[in-house]
C-alpha cells in the first residue's frame, strides 16, 4: 500500500514529522470551528498513517531511507534513518492516533472540556515528536525529540489547570526532565566521548577496546535516563500523569510517551550496545532484576488501587518493565518479544483506558468499587474491557499471548528461570487485578441502597467512544491471528529473531 510513490522515499520521513506538525498549526487556525478542527485532526491522522504504511512498504523492500537535516555540532546533527524497530513503533502510534482522535472527539465533547484547541494541537505535536523518535538516526536526534515529547505533553497532562493537575504536572516534568538531563544526556555525551559517534549501528557502536566498567555504568545511566520507561524508583511520574483527560492517558500513557521510553531502551540496547555486547556487562543482570522487581511490585501496588485509572497506570508500569526485561535478557528472541510487546500491549492497554474513559463519561465513576453491576448497562464497554484485560494478561486468543510467549522463551533460553517465574506470577497478578472488574460489573448486583449511579439515567457512552473501543478490542483479537506482518518486520531488525534456531545459532556463533 503505497500512496506516495511519486515522492522521493527519503522525503517520507520529512512528511511523517511535518504532517502532524502542520496539522497542529491547522488545528490552531481552525480552532473557532470545532467540527472543522476535528476534521483536520482526523484527516491529518489518516494521512500520517498512509505515510507510515508507505515507509513500511519500503522497509520490506529493503530500500534504505536516510535523511540528514542539520548539523548542530560539527559532524553531528539531526538525522533520520528508517529501521524496522522504528517502523513498528511508528505503525502502532500512527494507527492508534486515528482511533484515539475519534475517541477524543467523543470524550472531550461528552465531558465538555475547556481548551479543546490547545488539547488537539498539543496532541498532534506529541505525535510529531514520536515520529521523530521512531526514525531518529542517532542518539542526539533521539534525545532532542524525547525532550520535545516531554514538553509537548506537559500541557496535556495539566489540561485541567487545577491544583491536582499542577501537582501531577510537577512530578511529571520534574522526573522526566531531571532524569533525562542528569542521566540520559550524561550517557549520550559519555558515549560520544568514548566512541566519537552517536549513530545507531547494527551490532552496536562499542567494541572490545572500551572499558567494560564504564559501559556498565553507561547502561545504568541509559536505563534510568530514559525516565519514560518508568523503571522503579523513577516510575512515579506515570501515575501522577493520570490527572490528564482519559484520551491523553490512553494514547500518551499507554502508547506514545511510555512506549517512546521502552522503545528508546530497546533501540539503545540493539543499536548502541548490541545484543551480544550486552552479555558481557556487569550491570545487565542488575538492571534485569530491577526490571523484574518493577514488574511484581507495581502489579502489587495496582491491586491496592481503587481508582481505575491509577490501577491501569501501575499496570502500565509493570508491563513496561516486560519490555525492559526483554531487552536486557540479551537474547535475540527475547528482544523480539519485547518489540512485539510494544505493539500488543499498546492495543490492549489503550482498550482498557478507552473503557475507563467511557465509564467516566457515561456514569462519572472513577472508582472500581462503584462499578459493580455497571456492565449490564454498558455491555459493549465492559466486554471490550474484558478483551483488553485478557490480552494484557496474555491469554489466547488475544494479542498479548505472543509477546509473553517470546519473552518467556527468551528467558528460558538464557537460563534465567527466575524471570520465567516472574512472568508467570505477574500474569496471575494481572488476572487478580484486572478480571474482577468486568466480572463484577456483569455478574454482581449493586449493593442495595448504596447505589452510586442511577440505573435509569446511565447508558452507554457516546458513539465515537464506542467505535474507538470496539476497533481496538478487535485489534487485540486480530493481532492474535494475523501477527505475521509484525513478526516479519521484527525479524528484519539486525540481531533479532523470533526464530529459535536462528537465535541458537547466533549464540553459538
Amino acid at each position: 500500500m503505497n500512496l506516495w510513490q511519486a515522492l522521493e522515499p527519503a522525503q517520507l520521513i520529512t512528511l511523517s514529522i511535518c504532517v502532524p506538525f502542520v496539522g497542529a498549526l491547522l488545528v490552531i487556525a481552525t480552532g473557532k470551528i470545532p467540527n472543522l478542527r476535528e476534521a483536520v485532526t482526523l484527516i491529518t491522522a489518516a494521512i500520517l498513517f498512509t505515510i507510515v504504511l508507505a515507509i513500511t512498504d519500503y522497509t520490506f523492500q529493503g530500500v534504505p531511507l536516510r535523511l540528514d537535516v542539520v548539523d548542530i555540532f560539527p559532524g553531528l546533527g539531526i538525522n533520520f534513518v528508517v529501521e524496522p524497530l522504528g517502523v513498528l513503533f511508528a505503525l502502532v502510534a500512527s494507527f492508534l492516533w486515528i482511533i484515539t482522535s475519534i475517541y477524543a472527539i467523543g470524550y472531550m465533547r461528552g465531558h465538555n472540556e475547556d481548551n479543546q484547541t490547545r488539547f488537539f494541537c498539543c496532541f498532534a505535536l506529541a505525535i510529531s515528536s514520536v515520529m521523530g523518535i521512531c526514525f531518529s538516526g542517532n542518539l542526539l536526534t533521539l534525545f532532542i525529540f524525547y525532550e520535545v515529547l516531554t514538553l509537548s505533553t506537559y500541557p496535556l497532562v495539566t489540561h485541567a489547570g487545577n491544583d491536582a493537575a499542577k501537582q501531577g504536572g510537577r512530578v511529571y516534568l520534574g522526573i522526566l526532565l531531571s532524569t533525562s538531563i542528569a542521566f540520559l544526556l550524561f550517557a549520550v555525551l559519555g558515549t560520544y566521548a568514548l566512541t566519537g559517534t552517536l549513530d545507531f549501528r547494527a551490532g552496536g557502536i562499542f567494541d572490545d577496546s572500551h572499558n567494560k566498567v564504564v559501559l556498565s555504568v553507561l547502561l545504568v545511566l541509559f536505563c534510568y535516563g530514559v525516565g519514560k520507561a518508568a523503571i522503579m524508583p523513577f516510575h512515579r511520574w506515570l501515575p501522577a500523569a493520570m490527572v490528564a483527560p482519559t484520551p491523553v492517558s490512553a494514547l500518551l500513557h499507554a502508547v506514545a510517551v511510555v512506549k517512546a521510553g521502552v522503545f528508546s531502551i530497546l533501540k539503545i540496547v540493539i543499536y548502541i550496545f548490541g545484543i551480544e555486547g550486552l552479555k558481557d556487562l556487569a550491570t545487565t543482570d542488575l538492571m534485569l532484576y530491577i526490571g523484574a522487581a518493577t514488574i511484581l511490585l507495581s502489579s502489587c501496588i495496582a491491586m491496592t488501587k481503587d481508582n481505575l485509572k491509577a490501577r491501569l497506570a501501575y499496570s502500565t508500569v509493570s508491563q513496561l518493565s516486560y519490555i525492559v526485561v526483554g531487552a536486557l535478557l540479551a537474547s535475540s528472541i527475547a528482544s523480539a518479544g519485547a518489540a512485539l510487546h510494544i505493539a500488543t500491549h499498546a492495543v490492549g492497554k489503550i482498550t482498557l483506558f478507552f473503557c475507563a474513559g467511557a465509564i467516566m463519561v457515561a456514569s462519572h465513576k472513577k472508582n472500581i468499587s462503584d462499578m459493580v453491576g455497571l456492565g449490564r448497562k454498558m455491555p459493549i464497554t465492559f466486554a471490550a474491557f474484558a478483551i483488553g484485560a485478557i490480552s494484557i494478561i496474555g491469554l489466547p486468543p488475544m494479542a498479548g499471548t505472543w509477546s509473553k510467549w517470546y519473552l518467556a522463551i527468551g528467558a528460558l533460553e538464557t537460563d534465567k528461570l527466575i524471570i520465567v517465574a516472574v512472568l508467570m506470577i505477574s500474569s496471575l497478578l494481572n488476572i487478580a487485578y484486572l478480571l474482577p472488574i468486568p466480572i463484577r460489573a456483569f455478574f454482581s448486583k449493586p449493593v442495595e441502597g448504596a447505589e452510586p449511579w442511577s440505573w435509569s439515567q446511565t447508558k452507554e457512552a457516546p458513539l465515537p467512544i464506542l467505535i474507538a473501543l470496539t476497533i481496538t478490542s478487535f485489534g487485540c483479537l486480530a493481532l492474535f491471528f494475523y501477527l505475521q506482518p509484525l513478526v516479519e518486520l521484527i525479524n528484519l531488525i539486525p540481531g533479532v529473531s523470533t526464530d529459535m534456531a536462528v537465535s541458537t545459532n547466533m549464540g553459538e556463533g
Binding site: 532532542i144 520534574g174 555525551l189
Partner: protein
C-alpha cells in the same frame, strides 16, 4: 578612511554620542540617537568580526603612536565575537528601554539614562578591543562608573544602597586590578599586553609578577562576580531598572570574564597560571561551588529578578569552569556560553521588565495568571527559561553540550556529572515562575486593573533574543566557528609565546 579606523569606531562612536544624547535633552530624541549610535556600533563590530575571522589579528595604533609605546587596539576572533554580542544586546536593550524606563526611571533622568548607557557601552567595547593593560583599567572604570549611575537611576529608592554596595565592591575590584597592572609595569616596564606577555615569559619566577597576577585575578573576580565575591550582584540586579539589568546581566559580567580569559591566556600564559601557580583547581572549585550554591539560592528567592540574578552568578560559574579545564574545547565552551547566556538572560530580564511595566512588581506572586493576560511575554519567558535549563534546540543546550564534552575529553567525569546535576536546579527556579504564571489565577484585587500585553516596542527586542535562542540552538555554525577560532587563537598565541612550554603539557592542552 572609515575602513582604516574601523577598529576604533565601536569605542569612539558611543563615546562621542554619549554627551550628545545628554545635550539633546528630550527623551524621545536622545532615545532615537542612542539607539542609532548603538546600532551603528553593532554594524561596525559585525564587520570587525568578519575581518578578524578572515584576516586574523587587526592591530590599530591609537593616534599613530606605534605599540608598544602608544596604545594599541587589537582585534582578534575572541574579542570581536564578544563585542558583537555586547553591541547587539545594547542595541536591543535600547529599543526596549524607551517604554520600559517610563515606569522605572524619573522622566527628568531619561536622557541621563541614555548617556550612561552609551558610556557603559563605550567602556565595555574599549575593554574588549584594547591591547593595553592600563587602558583596559581606564575603560573598566568608564563602564563601571556608568553602571553605578545606571543602577541608581531606578525610582525605587532601594536601588541607592544597591548601587552604593556595587560602587564599593566595584572600586575595590578596580583598585586591585590597578595594583596588579602597576606591579607588572614595575617589573617589566611595559603596558602593552603582547609586550607584557613576552617579558613576563622571560622571568622564570618572579614574586612581583605572581603578586600582580593574584591582584588582577581577585580584582577581575570581583568584577565578574565569581563566587564568593558575588555579593554585590544580586541587590544591584534586583533594584536596577529592568532595562539596565537586562543590559548588565548579558554584557558587563561577560566582558569581565573575557578580561580574565585575556589576562590568563594572553598576558600571563596558561603555563604560568595553571601549571606554576595552580590556579586551575582554585577556579574549578569556585566555579562548581558557584553553580551549586547560587543555583540553590535562586530556587528560594521570591523576587524574580533576584532569582535570575543568582542564576547569573551560577551561569558565570559555568563560564569559569570551561576556562579552568584548560583545553580548546573548554575555552570554546566558555566563549559560546558568554554569547548564549547573553541571549537567554537578556530575554528573561526583558520579560521580567515587561511584567513590571504592567503589574508594577516582580515578586513571584505578581506573575500569577499572567500566562493568559500577557501570553507573548510569558511565552518568551518560557522559551528563554528552557534555554537556561538547557533543553535541546535552544542555545543553552549547545553551551552545556560543549562544556560537558570538554570535561569528558579530559576524562573528568565528575565535573561533567556535576555540570548536569547543577543544571537541574534551573528546572526548579524557572518552573516555579512558570507555574505561577500558568496555573495560578489572577488575584481578585488585580482583575479590575487593565493588565494586557505590552507594546511591540518592548516585545520585538525580546522576541529577537528569543528567536536567537532557538536559532543558535539549531544552527551553531556562527557561534562554534567564532568561538573555536577564538579559543584556538588564544591557545596559539600562547604557544608561540611560551618557548619553554613543557612538551607533554602542550600535547595535553592541544588535544
Amino acid at each position: 578612511m572609515l575602513e582604516q579606523h574601523l577598529t576604533a569606531l565601536p569605542i569612539i562612536l558611543p563615546l562621542i554620542a554619549a554627551p550628545i544624547a545628554l545635550i539633546l535633552g528630550r527623551s524621545v530624541l536622545s532615545w532615537g540617537f542612542a539607539t542609532l549610535a548603538s546600532g551603528l556600533a553593532f554594524l561596525f563590530s559585525w564587520q570587525l568580526l568578519s575581518a578578524a575571522l578572515s584576516e586574523g589579528v587587526i592591530s590599530y595604533a591609537v593616534g599613530g603612536w606605534a605599540p608598544p609605546w602608544g596604545i594599541e587596539l587589537r582585534v582578534d576572533a575572541a574579542n570581536a565575537f564578544v563585542l558583537l554580542a555586547v553591541t547587539a544586546i545594547s542595541t536591543l536593550v535600547l529599543v526596549y528601554s524607551k517604554d520600559s524606563i517610563e515606569k522605572e526611571v524619573k522622566a527628568a533622568n531619561h536622557s541621563l539614562f541614555y548617556t550612561a548607557h552609551l558610556l557603559c557601552l563605550a567602556g565595555l567595547s574599549g575593554i574588549l578591543i584594547t591591547g593595553d593593560a592600563f587602558n583596559l583599567f581606564v575603560f573598566l572604570e568608564i563602564s563601571s562608573l556608568a553602571t553605578y549611575t545606571l543602577v541608581s537611576l531606578a525610582s525605587d529608592r532601594r536601588c541607592l544602597t544597591a548601587a552604593f554596595r556595587y560602587l564599593v565592591m566595584g572600586t575595590i575590584g578596580a583598585t586591585f586590578i590597578l595594583i596588579g597592572v602597576g606591579l607588572l609595569y614595575m617589573k617589566t616596564g611595559t603596558l602593552n599586553m603582547m609586550d607584557l606577555a613576552v617579558r613576563i615569559d622571560a622571568y622564570d619566577s618572579s614574586r612581583t609578577i605572581n603578586t600582580g597576577l593574584a591582584f588582577i585575578m581577585v580584582g577581575v573576580s570581583i568584577k565578574l562576580a565569581l563566587f564568593p565575591l558575588h555579593m554585590w550582584l544580586p541587590p544591584a540586579y534586583t533594584h536596577a531598572p529592568s532595562a539596565v539589568t537586562a543590559f548588565l546581566a548579558s554584557t558587563a559580567t561577560k566582558v569581565a570574564v573575557y578580561v580574565m580569559i585575556r589576562f590568563i591566556f594572553t598576558v600571563f600564559g596558561i603555563d604560568h597560571v595553571f601549571v606554576d601557580m595552580g590556579m586551575g583547581l582554585i577556579l574549578m572549585a569556585l566555579a562548581v561551588v558557584a553553580i551549586f550554591k547560587c543555583s540553590y539560592m535562586a530556587t528560594v528567592q521570591s523576587n524574580v529578578k533576584t532569582v535570575l540574578a543568582y542564576s547569573s552568578v551560577a551561569q558565570i560559574g559555568y563560564m569559569i569552569l570551561g576556562l579552568s579545564l584548560v583545553s580548546v574545547t573548554g575555552l570554546m565552551a566558555s566563549m559560546i556560553h558568554i554569547f548564549n547566556h547573553a541571549l537567554m538572560k537578556g530575554a528573561l530580564f526583558m520579560a521580567v521588565g515587561a511584567v513590571f511595566y504592567r503589574v508594577g512588581s516582580v515578586d513571584i506572586k505578581a506573575f500569577a495568571g499572567l500566562g493568559r493576560k500577557m501570553p507573548l511575554t510569558m511565552a518568551a519567558f518560557t522559551i528563554a527559561g528552557l534555554s537556561i535549563i538547557g533543553v535541546p534546540l535552544t542555545a543553552g543546550f549547545v553551551s552545556k553540550w560543549y562544556l560537558v564534552t570538554a570535561a569528558l575529553e579530559q576524562g573528568n567525569w565528575t565535573v561533567a556529572a556535576l555540570v548536569l546535576i547543577g543544571s537541574l536546579f534551573a528546572i526548579v527556579y524557572i518552573g516555579r515562575i512558570l507555574e505561577a504564571a500558568y496555573f495560578q489565577k489572577l488575584p481578585e484585587s488585580r482583575s479590575s486593573e487593565n493588565i494586557k500585553e505590552i507594546s511591540w516596542l518592548m516585545l520585538v527586542p525580546m522576541w529577537v533574543l528569543v528567536i536567537a535562542n532557538i536559532y543558535f540552538g539549531v544552527d551553531t555554525s556562527l557561534t562554534t566557528e567564532a568561538a573555536n577560532s577564538a579559543s584556538e587563537w588564544l591557545f596559539q598565541t600562547n604557544n608561540i609565546l611560551e618557548n619553554n612550554m613543557v612538551e607533554g603539557n602542550s600535547q595535553e592542552v592541544s588535544s
